[in-house]
Point group: C2
């Protein structure tokens, strides 16, 4: 019997395998993660990032400081983070002897990110931050997440937890936790979910009993807590929802606590009765552990109240927009990294011939129209997502620091309206884009020797966490578009109107401009109709097709982004290839997706009730 | 520091974890894999399986023999196959010392399937088979694949390889291989793909040099060869495409060979110079190895010609319909198993409350309209797929054994027309359905403790292998619908017309009947237009939207299946719940999906050329 010998190894090379199990691509170019010229185009030609520097909050900044920061982050992402992505996917954390053992590359990476200022980029100078616009933070995070979403995850969680303490914590709580978190000594988590409650936060049952020493005694179980234990820093602070004894039932009796894994006593860190009860075997984000936690097994788990009693959900929700936008950035980033894998593969991999030619060398598969269909769809989804995320982040900046109260209010309206789309579209369509990346790789895409399958696994979480996409659709239709007498939707229609005018002026295809204008009208009309149903108490008639409504709304919003990019591209200093690619993607989206709007509006209008009336035993 | 102790284990139980890593569901009911009453309904109320018993080829059969066979297969699938699915997913084959070491449960399972008659169910009695209709085989295979697609995979491959030898092999080749394969002593594979050729079979370069001893000497490399080595049976016969020295270039110079791993010499089995060069790390179908093979490293790999020289692709393509339908069955089965996981989870898992109610116990999530939306979409896709696969399988039976030449010809037309849909729809939409199953499971769906993520991984292969779905779309539009002056599409329109008439008579919703009628007209019209473009040499204009055409065509075909089921359900002896569920799914598909047809037809008509004209550097 023959053994696997050197010839076997040759075949492995042909396959693109390597003994190290490092991912392979046939192309020699490396994955840029995110296109630099796309980011520059969005920042300076589409979203006028420089204008933010005129606002009070960002006056210390300039194009130079923005570029310096983004440059350093993108270099770090490509050189240091990306090479650790696949190893972390393949060697997830281990739960042993009550502790979580994370990947050994993480402590150094975390420190590098702290040194780069990634954690506190958006935080005020008063707490050691750089007070960068969210817009810049979004672009920078996109590189980090595309390179290694788990490694960045520890930063994102710490930022979220720290921001809560910064916004709502008493001086004592800040003193106890904040500086250590922002300086990178301790990390943070968000501990919301409980096994029996899931998305239903009103049903959480973790309890908090007041003591005379300023802290509360906490008792309860949490699940799906990301990063609640690791070997990166010595301590972790869990921002936790719990009920103070005697609090009202439901969502109105929930308070927010900071619960460290180790607490300080007499200048030493001692265990705070926070136990890791189990580690969940996730299918993606495998560099960061998802844990089941027990608080107070031994009756001595101390938590410090953050904000007022019973105001925990309110505090949490005030941070929700930012958190949801960051999920959107993750959706974009994961799809972007996979898009570039597919693009580079399609440029390099030779197979078959174009129609009509039977002889000669095989052609790169990008020559096949069906492959270009998949690539252009990916491009439309990926770049459309980043444009939207940039737009929404800019609204966040204007909502915080706009020049006038009117500016701030308008930006806030648009921010709230668009956040559910910014969370769901990159996740939902991004997953579709990730699947196309696998498909373009053919049989190779079905192997773990190539990266697309890993990105596909990573992406799936984004439709689930921070409020499932179904829940977002109800938020959009049931809450956001209907709020303030329809003011948010009117503001959006005006913004889209500006874009259409700008596009017409710039000489964009009038058909595309007209299609978008018509789409706005349709969306406005169906929204009015649904709102009227809601006002007459017909909740099913209003919300029964909230999923279709979200799909329709997002399709419009992305069409707007593409027309806006196409208009800006006419005069921007960008390469001819980017110009033409932008035109093609705008045309693709507006001609193939925008027509779905009338169909989805009909569906929302139709009272199509098949699943609304369906009973459990019909399935 | 606390350790993970008994309380930790309690938390693990709460999570639905178990130390054995066996998958968990909260529901106590077990997964039926495929609904028995759906299968009965399709066989005896929709597709009139009994009528096949009047045909020459199936005269020995009756409802009793059909039911007996399906019953034994479904029992085996649930009791013996399903419990081995997760272990095989978690312990994939190992490549060591030149050999592949497969899961230890496989030899016994393979023998059980042989004993049940699964391998030769459809083969003629003359070669030891039961000569069952393909329709019955499809239903039986659906259970097997839903239970453990990898374990069944060895049967499927052996059947495909054996069938080729049965159809095209000389008596000597049959004598050498066939009985051993059909009796379960040896397995078979299909060895088509080469690293440099992929889907482009005309570019394969494995060579075959004739000898004076009746065999050829083979030299070359193959990749993605499933099941080419294992520990199930002693030997494997690889049905391999290769070029005889001096053969014409391209697809016309390819011949088919049987190349065993071990060959017989003087009554002993000796190595045949077939080497495993590498094992591909697939993301699904993990019970069956995908291998890189080297033939003739030492110049002594012998292959036996099957069929005439240079007719290899012709032989292969004659088996292609059956192979593609079986991919469709796999797509269905994988989606069906996942649908039932989601259904049982949704019935059992309590979370949140229905709108308007804030108090009281949490409700099973099936009470939430958005969950029912996902379940009904899954049902529409899953059951619609099985109806189509049954319909197409019945055409295969009629094409082979129809009473008159006219019957056979007509069935053959419909079989060829619908096969690309039967291959692609269950794979493409089945994947979407699998994703919904993950989504319904929420955070738990993102873990490997639950099954949906594994089914999602398994499903992805079906859009890639046996001709990617993109290639199928070109086959459908470029070849099938345009063949024989449009006769296949006319035949389909007649069939759909019969269904509409039957539905009207049965008292189905006239709106649904009208919508389907209109859709047929639309599809006919755009097909004519595209055909005319093709005839004037406008290949891009005709085929540029073949993907949208396939989508449109499949949407119509599944609408037809649903109306057909709804019509049959009116008079069938089925439960009230199935009746109402059938109505709801038919309504769902026809009211939410059929309207997409006019949109997709517009797109095919529009000359929308964004990706057609796109150049490589625009991405």
């Amino acid at each position: 019997m023959r053994r696997d010998n050197s010839r076997g190894k040759y075949a492995l090379r042909v396959l693109g395998f390597a003994q190290s199990r490092q991912p392979k691509r046939m192309a020699t170019q490396s994955n840029p993660l995110v296109d630099d010229d796309l980011v520059d185009f969005l920042l300076y030609s589409v979203l006028d990032a420089e204008s933010l520097c005129k606002l009070g909050g960002y006056r210390q900044h300039s194009k130079q400081t923005f570029d310096l920061y983004i440059d350093s982050v993108r270099r770090f992402s490509r050189q240091d983070l990306l090479p650790t992505y696949k190893p972390m996917d393949e060697e997830p954390p281990v739960f042993r002897d009550g502790r979580i053992h994370t990947h050994p590359a993480l402590p150094a990476l975390y420190k590098q990110m702290i040194d780069l200022g990634v954690l506190t980029a958006t935080r005020p100078e008063s707490v050691g931050g750089q007070q960068m616009p969210m817009l810049i933070h979004t672009m920078a995070s996109a590189y980090l997440m595309a390179a290694n979403l788990s490694a960045y995850g520890y930063i994102g969680l710490t930022l979220g937890a720290g921001h809560l303490i910064e916004a709502f914590g008493s001086d004592e709580v800040k003193e106890r936790f904040l500086a250590r978190m922002y300086e990178g000594e301790w990390t943070g988590t968000m501990a919301l979910t409980e096994p029996q409650a899931g998305s239903s936060l009103g049903d959480i049952s973790t309890t908090a009993t007041p003591t005379d020493d300023g802290h509360y005694l906490i008792k309860g179980s949490k699940i799906f807590i990301s990063g609640a234990d690791h070997a990166i820093t010595v301590n972790v602070v869990n921002l936790t929802l719990a009920r103070i004894k005697g609090a009202p039932e439901g969502t109105k009796g929930i308070s927010l606590f900071a619960i460290p894994r180790l607490r300080e006593e007499d200048g030493r860190l001692v265990p705070n009765d926070v136990t890791v009860a189990g580690m969940i075997h996730k299918i993606g984000w495998r560099g960061i552990p998802s844990l089941a936690l027990e608080f107070g097994d031994e009756g001595d788990c101390r938590g410090w109240l953050v904000g007022e009693p019973n105001q925990g959900l309110r505090c949490m929700f005030q941070m929700m927009n930012e958190a949801r936008i960051m999920i959107g950035v993750n959706g974009f980033a994961t799809a972007s990294a996979a898009y570039h894998e597919a693009r580079l593969y399609a440029l390099d991999r030779r197979q078959g011939r174009t129609p009509g030619r039977r002889d000669g060398e095989q052609v790169p598969i990008v020559e096949h129209a069906d492959v270009r269909r998949m690539l252009l769809r990916q491009k439309a989804i990926v770049e459309g997502s980043l444009a939207l995320l940039g737009t929404v982040s800019r609204y966040a900046d204007l909502a915080a620091h706009g020049a006038t109260a009117e500016d701030r209010e308008r930006a806030d309206l648009l921010l709230n309206l668009l956040t559910p789309v910014a969370k769901t579209f990159p996740a939902e369509r991004g997953f579709e884009s990730n699947v196309l990346s696998v498909q373009i790789h053919g049989g190779y895409g079905y192997t773990s020797e190539y990266l697309p399958e890993a990105y596909m696994r990573d992406q799936k979480l984004n439709t689930i966490h921070e409020g499932t996409n179904g829940i977002q659709s109800m938020d959009l239709l049931g809450r956001q578009v209907m709020s303030k007498g329809g003011a948010p939707l009117r503001a959006l229609a005006e913004e889209i109107g500006h874009t259409v005018a700008r596009a017409r002026e710039a000489g964009c295809d009038p058909e595309l401009c007209g299609a978008l204008e018509e789409a706005v009208t349709r969306v406005g009309a169906i929204t009015m109709e649904l709102g009227q149903r809601g006002m007459t108490g017909d909740a099913d008639g209003m919300l029964g097709h909230s999923w279709d409504y979200l799909d329709m709304f997002a399709t419009l919003v992305i069409g707007w982004q593409w027309l806006n990019m196409a208009a800006a591209a006419r005069t921007a200093l960008i390469s001819e290839a980017r110009k033409r690619g932008t035109d093609a993607a705008a045309q693709y989206w507006i001609r193939t997706e925008i027509p779905r709007i009338s169909l989805l509006a009909s569906l929302c209008r139709s009272n199509e009730d098949s699943y609304i009336k369906a009973e459990a035993d019909w399935f």
